[in-house]
């Protein structure tokens, strides 16, 4: 039995298809049409809803964490044990009911006050992203960058965004707002607690295990079942290719897959960790990674998508694999048969093919702490300086897929590169190390000659292709030019090197 909280009711659904999206459930099964379909591919945000989840805060108290999601690429199974909030629920129903203006939620009212809707079709999605931003914003005043990040997954074709930005600034800077969801928090927590966090099997091909053992067993029994992490890629098979998913094993219930912890020499990251969770945790270790993660899809996708999913789908243009490759990370593949650890750069075999066997799942990743902390290098400190750089080049800054993604981990002694490891996305059929480049850089100062040699080395590493995002020529040129950016950042750190970092 699938159970979730919606409009203050516990909803029990026994036989929903495994591949039913939340959007279709709302619009077609429930006739709740406030949530709009703009693209059905998670790229426009018109269908944004907010999912509330029981978590423990820093003091260990139970609290509800609200995060936005694209309902068009979220399967209903993902709602189990959670609270679903849609735009239809934001307005406080007043008596008499005609007086809607006074019943508007603050995230709705700011849009009206700032003339931030025109055709109105994207508006419910913006309202929900604003609502989520309001629930998660920490620092006041919020920056324009924060607003861009929170709303970067919502497209508006009418307004040019200025009034929406103004509305967001107003909403997010007006201090603590207590709304009906805060008032009801006690009841909501109670209700969510009441939903047993047990394994779910709907009888319509949907499995939600809650332990690793259950998961391994299910995967062994149903090797063809689709493994559902955040589903932000998998759901496209349903909404775009019109495939039916006969059976789905959802990872969301397996708490043992969702963690970020530190051991003496590694950061361990559970494969089920959301990109948002990963980002929140990694910023402490590697702030250089944050700008890339801020531009990784949109907020709604980052909230849903998992670290493991970015590897399991084996896309040549995922942004995490190059990073993990450059940082010399490993991953654990596990099944009922046992587990094995492989280097991330060995995981990808050929286009869309990995080492993952049908009965296996990706359980976790390990990034050596030495990737960030010189004192942990096997060689010891020795005056070594670590430089990590992660570059994403795409047609649009927000919510776009990389034409080229380049990750560099360099160890420098003075101005000399002692060791280099790299990872590239968009340059080959798989995310890949640039071994010739690494060999060329090692032991050298990144001077003119070295960079010339490096560019030649890159042509040995990669023969990129033309596709919809970029030509092969552009990819070659940019990957080479990024070495110049890298050198500039190492040797002239005060010079702004990216349009994003530029302050004016």
């Amino acid at each position: 039995m699938l159970q979730f909280l919606h409009q203050n009711q516990i909803i029990n659904e026994a036989r929903l298809p495994a591949d039913l999206t939340v959007l279709d459930y709302l619009r077609e099964s429930q006739s709740l049409c406030g949530t709009k379909e703009g693209c059905a591919s998670g790229d426009c945000g018109a269908c944004t809803v907010v999912i509330g989840e029981l978590v423990q805060d820093a003091e260990g108290n139970e609290t509800i964490r609200y995060r936005s999601a694209n309902s068009c690429i979220t399967f209903v199974g993902a709602l189990h044990g959670k609270q679903l909030i849609t735009v239809d629920e934001l307005t406080q129903k007043t008596n008499p009911p005609s007086d809607t203006v006074t019943g508007l939620h603050p995230s709705q009212r700011v849009i009206v006050e700032h003339h931030a809707s025109q055709c109105g079709f994207c508006t419910p999605g913006f309202v929900m992203s604003l609502f989520a931003a309001m629930k998660t914003a920490k620092d006041v005043p919020v920056s324009r960058e924060y607003i861009n990040e929170q709303l970067g997954g919502n497209l508006c074709r009418c307004t040019g965004y200025r009034p929406i930005i103004d509305a967001a600034e107003k909403l997010l800077n007006c201090g603590d707002i207590v709304d009906q969801f805060d008032h009801n928090a006690g009841d909501t927590i109670q209700a969510l607690r009441g939903i047993a966090d047990n394994s779910v099997e709907t009888g319509s091909g949907f499995f939600r295990p809650v332990s690793l053992d259950q998961l391994y067993l299910l995967k062994q029994q149903h090797p063809d079942a689709a493994v559902l992490g955040g589903g932000t890629d998998l759901a496209l098979r349903v909404t775009q290719q019109l495939d039916s998913l006969e059976s789905v094993i959802m990872l969301d219930g397996v708490a043992a897959l969702s963690f970020v912890t530190q051991t003496s020499d590694e950061i361990r990251i559970g494969a089920g960790t959301s990109l948002t969770g990963f980002r929140d945790a990694l910023v402490h270790y590697c702030p250089e990674l944050d700008p890339l993660l801020a531009r990784f899809a949109g907020t709604q996708v980052r909230n849903q998508a998992t670290v493991g999913g970015n590897f399991a789908n084996a896309s040549p243009v995922g942004d995490l694999p190059p990073v993990f490759i450059a940082l010399n990370a490993s991953l654990v593949l596990a099944s009922a048969r046992g587990e094995r650890t492989v280097k991330v750069h060995e995981f990808f075999v050929s286009y869309k093919e990995t080492l993952l066997q049908p009965d296996e799942i990706i359980r976790e990743f390990m990034i050596p702490l030495a990737a960030f902390d010189v004192s942990l290098l096997p060689s010891g400190d020795n005056g070594i300086r670590i430089v990590n750089r992660f570059y994403k080049v795409s047609k649009r800054i927000d919510d776009d897929i990389s034409a080229v993604c380049a990750a560099f981990h360099l160890q420098l002694s003075g101005n000399t590169v002692v060791a280099a490891s790299t990872g590239f996305g968009g340059m080959a059929a798989i995310p890949k190390r640039a071994q010739a480049l690494e060999a060329t850089l090692a032991g050298r100062v990144l001077d003119e000659q070295c960079l010339l040699d490096a560019v030649v080395a890159l042509t040995r590493d990669f023969q990129p292709i033309d596709d919809v995002r970029a030509t092969a020529e552009y990819r070659s040129k940019v990957s080479a030019n990024l070495l110049h950016r890298l050198a500039a950042e190492i040797y002239t750190p005060d010079v702004a090197t990216t349009v994003e970092s530029h302050g004016h």
């Binding site: 709009k36 018109a46 849009i111 309202v127 861009n148």
Partner: protein, 763 residues
């Protein structure tokens, strides 16, 4: 007149404003359209047996099943609803399916087995130009002797010439609500179609023709569109026809809603253009002669392309006087989806040629491009005539440009940018200030008409209907404000209902920025009729003069007498058997155009604006950031400043998208590759300028007799985005120390910027 919020704003934020698909429930059946998988050739065999047998399929049709007209071309033939033989573009509709559910219909489509005899498609505009493949004959506009002047220029001291070519890409509308229509059978074999549509009357006519019905049998209704931008002027009609056809064949409710992918593949877009130019100019930058060839890629059929390429020709002067001009417009045919209306309607594609020329002259003379622009502005008698012989009057561009130059600190910032660029080798900044002059009126004169219907009820409230459609631009709000002001009733007492062909007939598309000019005036005239009847009634009942009667929000005041509320007044007039319902009809005065001789006054007036933008580019990757934009725009006396500013900002950003990140790509087979938002990138929130200052030109009522002396605002601001495109060129030029003219095309994607940077560096 104020800043009232959009009439649906509260409903928008609550998700309570119904769009067409929101009304679809389980009683509707769903349509999907099966398209060609080649770009050009002949169908040799259609086997739909598996489609018919597919789960949930109720009905399948091909061209043979269309009872009436097959062609739904809006002006000229060439757009079969379903094709039976010839394939002209990838995705062209061949058959359609009705099924119980949306997914069943879409899955069934994939089971068709269609065989073709393939021909080699012409996909590139260049090839179509070279082969003289046209959907309509070329058209020429000329004034003076451009050829003579260009020939003489080579021997004249102090006169220079230059020539060049630039390409500007097309643009996908990407309205957030995709194409959709529903149909419900009506009695007497009629049909009620609800559509997200900018042109209900045309859809009504085409549905009638396709079904072999009369227009009286077809009711078209549009309450609101989730974005139109020109993409639902003709492109919404096919969904209406399919929905109606299946509804009547099967006597059931139907919905035809395209998936985003289908929408992007099978509906038309903004025309790509290749513009060639030759210019003669003097030492001070003054243009003596221009010769333009503007070649639009119309795709496979004429659609609206004749008027679109004409509008490109009408706007390749922008704000500049050409003593001698020769302008050729080509309507090129390729085997791609037929291109259509898109905000600006060809105007932007023509205008970008003039802005390219201004920049290139500036480079040739090492002048500030702004000075070249100013040197060429339309001015006094003798330098106020367009290439189509309309006299430019009340030209607010110079005034706005001067004001903007000062308020934005253009000159000092330009110096500071040069300084910055000398010190920075990776990042470069650029700045540009560009004007816009855009002609307002449909250039097909007969379309400049509109109707409205107004009822005053006995409780003093008003029902208003007009032929315009609400697509987010705030038309309903503005027209209600006009009526409120004219009649005196408070805005809250006025309800505008959905646009319906049975209320106001024979309307024009809501297009050409004309919505509030035309419909606002029609509604104003209707309100005036009611008001005059009420005045006559009051004069007869009360012993007073017309001057002593004052209408207001509370009702009517008559000197020395008790005021009457609107309810009391309306009721009293009703008892006295006064008609409280009126129609208003408006046709734009004083416009005419002789196309054969390319002379006349096609536009009632010009809408103007100016913008200055500063950009930052990364010369290693071509990445771009828009740092600051300042705009002054002339909307005459604004009916609603908040709505007008919204149009200015939204149009500007849509133009920025067209000129930067929005790139359409096809493969060599003619299949569109950028068929979703994952690959086709419209501006996101981070693409809005870091600093954005928008101002409406103050105290400048429209000298033309428009409603409230306002000016149209829908399209013109899109072209303010040339300030960004020209600023990018300025930034690129820094990599060649401003010696080399960067031959930048549009869209200036990161890839195009980098290509251009490398080209400048190499020369």
């Amino acid at each position: 007149m104020g800043t009232s919020e959009h009439e649906s704003a509260v409903k928008h934020v609550c998700g309570a404003a119904p769009y067409v698909d929101d009304t679809v429930d389980a009683t509707y059946r769903h349509i999907a359209i099966g398209g060609s998988e080649i770009a050009h050739g002949q169908i040799t065999r259609i086997d739909l047996s598996d489609v018919v047998a597919s789960d949930g399929v109720v009905d399948v049709i091909t061209s043979d099943d269309i009872p009436g007209h097959v062609d739904i071309g809006p002006v000229f033939k060439g757009d079969p609803l379903l094709t039976s033989t010839e394939i002209e573009f990838y995705g062209q509709a061949i058959f359609a399916v009705l099924a119980d559910t949306r997914v069943q219909a879409r899955k069934a489509i994939r089971k068709a087995r269609i065989e073709y005899s393939k021909s080699v498609p012409v996909l590139e505009l260049k090839e179509a130009i070279a082969k003289k493949l046209y959907v309509r004959p070329p058209h020429r506009m000329q004034r003076g002797d451009a050829i003579g002047a260009l020939n003489d220029a080579t021997n004249s001291p102090g006169i220079h010439t230059l020539s060049g070519e630039m390409r500007v890409g097309g643009q996908e509308h990407f309205y957030l609500e995709g194409q959709v229509a529903t149909a419900t059978p009506d009695e007497d074999n009629g049909v009620h179609v609800v559509s997200s549509n900018q042109n209900p009357t045309e859809a009504q006519k085409l549905v009638a023709e396709v079904l072999g019905l009369s227009m009286k049998d077809v009711l078209l209704e549009t309450r609101r569109l989730g974005g139109g931008f020109g993409g639902k002027e003709t492109q919404a009609n096919a969904c209406c026809c399919f929905a109606a056809l299946f509804a009547l064949r099967n006597q059931c409710k139907t919905v035809c809603r395209l998936s985003r992918r289908d929408d992007m593949i099978i509906t038309g877009k903004r025309h790509e253009f290749i513009n060639e130019y030759e210019v003669a100019f003097s030492d001070d930058g003054a243009i003596n002669a221009v010769k333009y060839q503007l070649a639009g890629n119309c795709g496979s059929s004429p659609d609206l392309s004749d008027a679109i390429v004409d509008r490109a020709m009408f706007h390749c002067d922008n704000a500049y006087y050409y003593p001698n001009a020769l302008i050729d417009g080509l309507r090129c045919k390729t085997h791609t989806v037929s291109n259509t209306a898109f905000r600006g309607f060809g105007g932007p594609q023509g205008m970008i040629a003039s802005e390219t020329v201004m920049d290139e002259i500036a480079f040739a003379l090492q002048m500030d491009p702004l000075d070249v622009r100013k040197r060429n502005f339309y001015s006094d008698e003798g330098t106020d005539i367009t290439p189509y012989y309309q006299v430019v009057t009340d030209f607010t561009v110079p005034r706005m440009v001067d004001s903007l130059e000062k308020s934005s600190g253009y000159r000092s910032r330009r110096d500071a940018i040069r300084e910055y660029n000398r010190a920075n080798h990776i990042l470069k900044k650029g700045i540009a200030l560009t004007p816009v002059k855009f002609g307002i009126s449909f250039t097909a004169t007969h379309l400049n008409q509109a109707g409205a219907l107004l009822h005053l009820y006995t409780d003093g409230t008003v029902h208003l209907n007009h032929g315009g459609t609400e697509m987010g631009q705030g038309l309903f709000t503005k027209v209600a404000q006009v009526v409120s002001t004219e009649l005196g009733v408070p805005l809250a007492s006025i309800k505008i209902s959905s646009t319906r062909t049975d209320k106001v007939p024979n309307t024009s598309a809501t297009a050409a920025s004309s919505g509030s000019d035309l419909n606002g005036m029609a509604a104003l005239l209707a309100a005036r009729k009611i008001k005059s009847r009420l005045t006559e009634f009051l004069l007869a009942e009360h012993n007073c003069t017309a001057q002593e009667i004052e209408f207001g929000a509370e009702g009517v005041r008559i000197a020395n007498e008790e005021a009457l509320s609107w309810q009391e007044l309306a009721t009293a007039a009703w008892v006295a058997r006064i008609s409280l319902s009126a129609t208003g009809f408006y046709k734009t005065p004083d416009i005419y155009y002789d196309r054969e001789n390319a002379r006349g006054r096609p536009f009632l007036y010009y809408a103007n604006g100016a913008a200055v933008s500063e950009v930052l580019i990364d010369t290693l990757t071509g990445e771009l950031k828009l740092l600051r934009t300042d705009v002054i725009h002339d909307v005459g006396s604004s009916i609603n400043e908040a709505i007008d500013i919204g149009q200015v900002e939204g149009g500007f950003i849509q133009g920025v998208g067209w000129l930067t990140t929005e790139e359409l790509k096809w493969n060599t087979e003619g299949r569109l590759l950028t068929d979703g938002p994952a690959t086709y990138k419209i501006p996101a929130i981070g693409d809005a300028p870091a600093e954005f200052n928008v101002e409406l030109l103050a105290d400048c009522p429209n000298p033309a007799p428009t409603v409230i002396r306002s000016k149209a605002v829908g399209e013109p601001p899109l072209m303010l985005a040339f300030s960004v495109w020209c600023a990018i060129r300025d930034a690129i030029a820094a990599t060649g120390d401003y010696k080399v003219f960067p031959k930048l095309n549009a869209p200036a994607t990161a890839e195009e910027i980098l290509r251009c940077v490398d080209e400048v560096k190499a020369s």
